[in-house]
Structures are given as C-alpha cells and as structure tokens.
Symmetry: C2
Subunit: 621 residues, 2 copies
C-alpha cells in the first residue's frame, strides 16, 4: 500500500504499519519526543483523503481533529490515503544541534592531520588463476601471494572466508584485499571498483546523527539525523540501564538503536546510489552507556557503586556484530570512554576542540541529557560528570520541553510591570519552555526582583503573574488554552542543575591547583550550547564569570570527533591518548563537591565575589 | 505429549513430531538409511496402544502392519501412545564401524605424544576488585593484570566481552582466563571450577561420530553415533554439493549436520551430567565437502574443474559460528584438507596410522562412501581420490545395501553344484547384499567359474541360479518374498570401483618410482575395512597381491585422529605437516590413470603376473 504525500510523492507503507514509521523508513522525520507512544502530541499530519484508523488523539484539539489532523504514530491507513506533512511537525534537528558544516569539518581535519588513513587498508593482489596443476585452495592461494609481499600471519575470519571464493572469481582473480593493519583480512573487492565510504555515528541519549564520508577525498556525502528511539524506554541513561537489565530489554534497546542508524544509512545510500557494501568502516561515538548498549554489553554495573563499565577501550569489532547494514565485515571503531559517566562522546569532543594540543588551559563542557566537563591542556586533562540531570532538556520541569517548535526560547521581563515578553521557536503559540528559555527566565526574574537569590518568589511585588498552582507558587509567562508557567519547584530543579555544573567546574580547577581565572578558553559543546545566552548563564551562576570572548560554541563535537577518527589513524591514536590521559573524578562521592555544590545553590553563588559582573548588575537593580 | 516405551521409559514428543525424530532427540537411534523419507523401510517400531496417523508404510508387509508395526519416520501420535522398539531396527553403528576402544585410544595417544596440551590454555588471574579510586573498566582491569604477567596484545572478541563482567563478579574476581596461545581470550571461569572437556567429531558422508573427552586425564567419557541426516539430500558428496548450491540448501545442510552433532552432545552431556559450557574446545574431521558444509562455506567449486576448495587449512573459528551447543566461545579446530577429494578425514587417518613417522613405505586406504588412498612414509606422502563411487555401500547395486541387519555379508559357492551358502547380518531373512558380500560373491563366482575374468556369466554351466532379470542376466543367491540377486550390471559396477582403487594405488606407487612390492604395510581404514576379507579382495584384484600379514585394519581413523588433535598441540602440528607434505594427484585427468584403470577392469587384472596367488588359484580350479 502507498501513502500519497501532498507534494505528489508516494511512499510505501506495510499492512498495519503506522504513518510515523513509514515516513521514517523513507527518511522523513517528524518530531516525536515520546518515541511513538502517542503521548507527546507532536507527530501531527493532516489526512487529506482516504480511510484510516487512529488509536489516540492525544493533545489534538477538537478543532484540529475536525480538520483531519492526526498523530502519525497512532494512525494506520485502511486504504491508500493522501497526507499533508505539517511544517510544524517536521524534525529539523540540523538547525537545533548545529551540525558542523562540511567546509568547517574539512578545515578542522586539515588543521589536525590532513592525511586520510582509514581503518581499512587495501592491498592489490593479482592471483594466478587455479588449474589442475596449481590446485591449492582459494585461501592458500591468497596466503601464498601475500607471503611474496611479506604479509604473513594475517587472520581470516569466518565472515571473510564465506564470501571469498565468489569475490575472487567475480574479480577475475585480480583483487583488492581490504585488511586492518595487515593483521586481519576484511573482505575482497574487484580491483576496478574503487568506491570507498565510511560512516561516522554519534549516538546521543536523545538524538542520533550519522555522517557518510567518501574516503577518496574525505568529503561529507550526506548527513542523517533522528531521535534515538530508545527514548520510549526512558529519557536518560539511568532509566535505559534499568530497562536494559529487564528481560530482553538490552537486546531490544540494541535493536532499536541499530534500526535508527540503519534507517538513516538506507535513506542516504539510496539517495546517493551508494551500495551499503561499499561502506567499509565506521566510527561510533557515544556516552559509556550508549556505547555499551550499542554493542549489546550489559550496562548494569555502570549504575552500581563503584560504577564500573565493562569496557572503556572497545576492541575493533564488526559491523555485522553491531547489526549495522553496511559491509558486514566492516570494522567499527568505538571512541574510547573514560569512566561510567564520561564517555566516548566527551573524548571525541575534546579531540574536536583541539584543547589537548594547546598549552592554554581550557574548559570543555557538554550540557546535553547528561552534563560532562573536562579541564586541561596538552599536558594534563581532568574530567567529571556533573549529574546535572536532563532538566535543560525539559525533564522534571512542569512545562519543560526540548528546543523544538512551540518552546519559549528567550524571555525578557519588564522591570517595572513584571510583564514578560518572549520569542517562541517556530513563531507559534507557546506550548512550553526549553533550556535556554529557563535560563533566560530565571536570570530575568532575578534581575527584576521577581525571585530572590535563593530562587524563591518575592511575594510583595505587584504582579498577578505569580499565582498558586497545583505544585505551589508559579510564574505565568503565557495564558492561553494552556498556561505556560515556571514553578518554584522548577526553579529549584534548575538551581540544582546549574549548581552541579558550576561546582564540577570549580572543583576540577581547584583539584589541579588553579583558579577559574586560569581558564583561557571555554568550549561549549552540544545542542543546548547553541542557544545558550552566556551572559544569562553567568547571571544564573551556571558558567563562571569570565569574559565573553573566552567562550566558543562548537556544536555537535561528538560527531565531529567521530568524523576525524574515521578519516585518520593519527587522530584515532590521539583519541586513545586523550582517554588514557584523562583523570576522572567521581564527584558523587566527593566531600568537597558537596561543599562546592551547596555554595552554588544560590543565585549566582553564596560567594558573590566570584561573580563581579553579576554583583554589579544586582547592585544596579 | 509423551511416548511410553515398552521398557517403561517415557520420552517427550512435540505436536506433529514423528516418532523417529522424538527418539533421536532422546538419544535413541533407529536405522533410517533414507534419512526419514519413508522409503528404506528400516525405522520400524511396534505401536502397542494409542492412536496415531501414519503417512506411508513403505516395505512393511500386511502381516506386520496388522501387528502394529509402523515406520517411525512416518508416524505421528494423535494421543499418548505406547511403543516397542524392535531390536532389528536399532542403529548400532558401534559394531559396524569398529570404533577404537578407549584403552586403544589412550595407548595410541601415548605412543604419539602422551602430554595433554588442549587448544585452550588457562591462566589464573587474581583481579583486585574495583573501587571508587580504582575504577578502570573490567576489560582494562583484566589487561592490567595480564600485563604484569607479560601477556600483552591479547585479542578480545565480542563474545568474550559479553559474558566477561558477570563471570568476573560471580568468580569473586579470582578467575581462570581461557585463551588460545596467549593471542585470544576465550572465556572466563571461576578458578575453583576445574571441569574441562573437549569434543572430537568425525563428520562422515554417511555417519557422524562424536567423542567426549575429559581433559584432566584424556579419558573418553562417552561416544555418540548417528547417521548424517544430510543423507536425505543425497548419498554422496556430489549430490550434497548440488543440493548446497540450490537456494537455501547450504544453510539447510549446515543446520542438519549441526543438529545431528548437537543431539549427540545433548545425550552424552545429560547422561554424564556435564554442563555443555564446560566443553571448551572441539576438533572436527571430515572430507573436504563435509568440512565446507559444516562451516557453511559454499562447496560449489569443489565440483567444478579444476576442483578447487575454498579452504584446506581452516582457521580456528568458534563453536557458536559452527552452531555447536557447547561453550559458544570454544575454538573449533578443523583437520586440514589436502584437496577437493582428499580431506581432513584422510589427514586424520594418516596421523592415527602413524605411517608419517616411520621409514617403511605404507599404503593407507579408506574405502567408505568415497575411496581415498595415500602412500608414503616419514619422508614423502602421495595421495589421490579413486572415485570408486559408493557401490560398496550399496548404491548402484540392484540389491545393494549398507552393512546393516539383513545384509548378506559373506558368501560361499559350492564349486560342483554352484549352490550358494551365506551369512546374514542379524541372522535374519536376507534383504540385500553389502560391500563385503559383493566382494565375496564375485571372487567366489570367479573361482567357481560362474563368471569369467571379464565378469560375465559363463552361460554353459549347469545351474538354475543364473536367470534373466529385468536388468539382464543375474545370479540368485536367495529366493523368498523377494529374491536377492547380483546382476551382470552390478558386477560391472563393482569391477569399475575395484579397478579405480587398484589403478589409484598402482599409479601412486609408480609415480614415486616404486613397485607394489615396496609396500611394507597396508592400513585399511573405515567401516567397510572391518568386514573386508583380504584374500577375496585380492582375488577380485581390488587390493594388491601382498602377504596377508602386511594388512592392518584400523577402524574409524578419522575420529581417532580427531581425538589425537583434540588432546595434543604437537599432533595438531603434525596433522598440518601431513597435509602440507601430501602431494595430491588428480587422477580424473591423468592419461596414465586411464591406462591403469582399463587394465584393472578384469578379474583380477589383465596382467595376471601381478597376482601370482590368484593365478595359482585360477589354475587349481
């Protein structure tokens, strides 16, 4: 059966398949933060004609329902239907997580290495065709020729041997042997066939990004992005670990993430007419839990004190084992992890930031679903996980949401009337507030005296914006079909998150005997970073009070580092060095961290002397 | 549902499963030469009570049917039934293929090496348990301790890592690491757990034999035997290769043989209360086609000129890959093959014969479903496949059958009356004639003048035993419900087979500049060898006319060699040396072979001078 899109395009849909799934298979991604459970109300499409049945209409108003608007994840066509995709439902992660541009990537690579040296090497071998006289087996024939080239002791996997005989014959015995370091044979290709591609993957807790790279010139062929469908089993790594330890859970999470990646691979390879078998190697970057689950390794001990991952430095395993639909024999390199809560994505980020090459002391921070920081330079590196929690991604905040359409992303509060003005992503009716909106809101509320330095509402100010909600006092930003508010409990949650981040930074710096002033550069990575207003984050006391020019926003450094490692052996070595070099501090058990944290549970900080700029602003109030 | 056996035992049977299959799952093997197609009429059981449906009653007489006798492979119970197993249907391969006895095996091993050195080595590692301070990952922890022992650069497979974390914890961090040559980690066991077992497998075209060995002392724990269920897709390697090249055929054949082996493994491990996970390595011996199919490697090029196998020297792959239900990580060693039609079973046999260690020139011959020969000593080895065809196993012979119950196995013909007398396996009514019976019959017919030296019936002798059948003239050995005869066409087929064997032997010896007299020892391997009457085989001209004391019957040398390789690294090396050393002659394209073959198509040979003993007998006639 087919779905007809308003654009005229037709896509296939299987019997009983929902529209969201069919669209995804064809590379058309809708926002679906709940992972297809029918609860977030995001994946709206408009059915123009045809019969369908829809299970839930969560969060769709009567008026919209009458217009034919349905949730794609809950709707199954009963005959050929015609559907219009709504711009507001389109997933455009690209904008949100600020992917590095192809040109920037190329320059970054050039600045770090510039010489393409993929994981897979190739050696041309002209085999004498077999005859009655020269009747040794295919494998012995190959070994014999390799011996004459001084290549001995190579390992031949079962997977290699399975396709070897046919490959040799179809290539007319004039082959390229793909191998890794002369130590293991990977596959055989026809010597005339020179197409070689690689895959870089960033497995975020929330989003997945893939890059397809042409090894002939390092060019970025295309980018694919989607939500990590594991979301339906939990927002953060802890809930995923819990799910993984349930019966069959690990395997399900593993399948789900592989399927997400495979959907992206299929869309890109079909579009560019590339054979998936020509994708000969891959690099995967993710936090420690994501990396474990990707490989099907039980992550349970990550969560149990003393928080020990099974693996930090992953051996080079095969794409077939990873269930990736590229060449089954393709080696998959996993960015090495440092500890249970500082993973390959941070190693990847440090590599892409280049801080490990410079003598200047830099701070690297990635505030995504988890919060990780690293401090150091070309001589030393310290790292910690801040357990900031996913509140900046909307979790645990009454009207919190991700930075997608309908989210209040920037806020001003008039100092005299306390009336708020705001901008909403997609210029639509606001449905919630995202991380940058929260930071804006709280810093504005502080500067206008709506809240005090403990984050509590000041009750004697003249405004009807503060009201008693079902969770206690709250500030109403917007009244409508649904109010958008920030409660005192929300503010407390944000305070805890920012305190964890600041305390982590502060402690790491102290631990190595420096002060915050010593930090010459701050690299902010991750999607959230791009919307972060540094001034406001300093007012909040989340970022140290340092000159604005020291801050640099790098976007998705996890995928950038994966790209670098895909292209260069030297950079893979550097990534290993970074991971080896990084000293990990377990903050959750540190006495000093608790002190730092308690001091930071204040706006901006109990020691206002650390925030001279904010002190000035508060005085000016 | 259960089947109640007459012995009181009850065995489970699945919905729709036939009785043969259920019995097999419980280690009770019936003769079923057709592989369960309902055509051979062998797998008879007697249903004592209960309802069942039976599809075919091939070869079961009305009288027997009335007694409740059915074919197990064609009968599915419809409710709980009670069944009596008939002694005549029991598969007792043990007797037929003369397994080496445990004591003989131990002596053989002692004479060749004596020091047990399995494929898997173990090293004890006491890991310091992890803590907040010492928080490196499990894998890095293991590597760190191995480094202190000077063991570096070990490979860690995905399968190893999957079970590593749990194994370390359940062992209290005091582990034994199983590894291969310090190069690859295999699995982890609790140091207190010292059970270590190994599996030797002989995959014959017709039968499968497994030995379970205790590595603590090399003791044979138990033996299991069954028919190779691939039989249902063809009697010989050629038909199997053809089936393998059909859609899905290879995978099916692979599954079928793995299932046969797994059934045997389950029966033995359950009986001896051994955990399959404690079976830590395996050795497989089979002909080149069987070895390819076992590993799922396409055997098609074995059959196409210039007859090239994909692999002769198989890398060490995993039991999981081989689909064997022992420790999934267990390395599986495959006896190396020499050429497309001289496989690991022959290398194994030469090893077990010890001819490669002695200066005396020996001839090794294995006349099973295929016929292979090897000639040589500790300095050189020549080998060839005789393409004798499976006629000695009953194929292509009107009333031919395997050496099982009902087969005429020995024959005498009275020189005056031409009346035959014979013995039948199982002392029952004869239903056919097996390989040794054919050789007896033809040599007796020659000596009594029933046939001439061309194998044609002498028409002017006075007997009514020679009659005109539907395939031409035939000699009737037994009249009954069904006559048992040998036709002129049958004799021609046997002549072709014996000529191929003799020509092969003769040519190999000539090729190295020796004469048949130089052969100091003849090793006869394989099941057929045990029933072979050497004198008669010489009269036939199948074996060279050498003194009887030079002949030695070794039984199943394929499994014996597999056992040796399972126990000893030195002997695995020797097997490799044998395979490397063996010069293979492709007889099918040799001009000289055709000449030798044509000369041997005579009883005993066109050059009677080669057979002085037979010449004397013929003159005495």
């Amino acid at each position: 059966m087919n779905i007809k899109l308003a654009t005229g395009e037709e896509i296939s849909i299987a019997e009983g398949e929902n529209i969201l799934s069919a669209l995804k298979r064809h590379g058309k991604y809708l926002i679906s933060s709940c992972g297809g459970k029918g609860t977030c109300g995001k994946c709206r499409v408009k059915v123009l004609s045809g019969k369908y049945r829809t299970a839930k209409a969560g969060k769709i108003s009567k008026g919209d329902r009458d217009k034919g608007i349905v949730l794609a994840c809950q709707t199954v066509p009963e005959q050929e239907i015609s559907v219009e995709l709504l711009e507001s439902s389109r997933l455009v992660i690209g904008d949100k997580i600020a992917l590095s541009k192809s040109k920037d990537l190329a320059e970054l690579f050039k600045s770090l290495d510039g010489k393409i040296s993929p994981i897979v090497n190739k050696v041309s071998v002209k085999l004498p065709p077999p005859s009655i006289e020269d009747h040794i087996s295919d494998l012995e024939r190959l070994k014999r020729e390799l011996n004459t080239k001084g290549m001995t002791g190579m390992r031949f996997s079962h997977g290699f041997v399975l396709s070897m005989a046919d490959s040799m014959r179809s290539s007319g015995w004039d082959i390229d042997l793909a191998h890794v370091n002369g130590a293991e044979a990977i596959f055989i290709t026809d010597r005339r066939d020179t197409s070689r591609y690689g895959l870089a993957v960033d497995i975020g807790t929330t989003t997945i990004v893939v890059y397809l790279i042409d090894f002939s010139d390092g060019r970025l062929v295309d980018v694919g992005m989607t939500y990590n469908s594991q979301i339906r089993h939990g927002d953060d790594v802890i809930t995923r670990i819990i799910y993984a330890t349930e019966r069959g859970g690990l395997n399900e999470l593993r399948d789900v993430v592989a399927e997400d990646i495979n959907n992206l691979i299929r869309t890109i390879t079909e579009k560019h007419k590339i054979k998936p078998g020509h994708v000969e190697s891959a690099v995967v970057s993710g936090n420690t839990t994501m990396s474990h689950i990707f490989w099907g390794i039980d992550p349970r001990y990550i969560r149990e004190e003393p928080y020990i991952p099974a693996v930090n430095f992953f051996p080079l395993w095969k794409a077939g084992t990873a269930r990736l639909n590229i060449n089954k024999q393709a080696p998959v390199y996993t960015l090495p992890c440092v500890a249970s809560y500082v993973g390959g994505d941070i190693v990847s980020g440090v590599l892409a930031s280049r801080m490990h090459r410079s003598s200047e002391i830099a701070l690297f921070m990635d505030i995504g679903t988890n919060g990780e920081i690293a401090v150091g330079n070309n001589e030393w590196l310290m790292t910690a996980a801040c357990s900031a929690g996913p509140c900046f991604e909307g979790s645990g905040i009454k009207h919190g949401m991700r930075a997608t359409e309908g989210a209040i992303e920037a806020i001003k509060i008039a100092p005299d009337t306390f009336e708020p003005s705001f901008s909403v992503i997609g210029n639509t009716t606001p449905t919630g507030i995202c991380g940058s909106g929260m930071i804006d809101a709280i810093s504005e509320m502080l500067l206008t005296g709506v809240i005090d330095q403990r984050g509590k509402f000041v009750r004697d100010i003249k405004t009807d914006r503060i009201q008693e909600g079902d969770e206690g006092p709250e500030f109403v930003f917007c009244r409508g079909e649904k109010d958008v508010v920030l409660t005192e409990v929300d503010i407390e949650n944000v305070l805890r998150a920012k305190a964890a981040i600041y305390a982590g930074i502060s402690l790491l710096i102290k631990e190595v005997g420096f002060t915050l002033d010593s930090i010459e550069r701050i690299y902010v990575a991750g999607g959230f970073g791009n919307y972060l207003n540094v001034d406001k984050a300093i007012i909040l006391g989340m970022l140290p009070d340092l000159p604005k020019e020291k801050f640099m926003f790098l976007g998705n450094t996890s995928i950038a580092g994966a790209y670098l490692c895909l292209l260069s052996e030297k950079l893979r070595k550097e990534a290993e060095d970074i991971a080896h070099k990084m000293t990990y501090m377990e903050l959750s058990v540190s006495r000093n961290f608790m002190d730092e944290y308690m001091s930071a549970l204040f706006l901006p900080h109990t020691d206002i002397g650390l925030f001279p700029t904010v002190e000035k602003l508060l005085k000016a109030r």
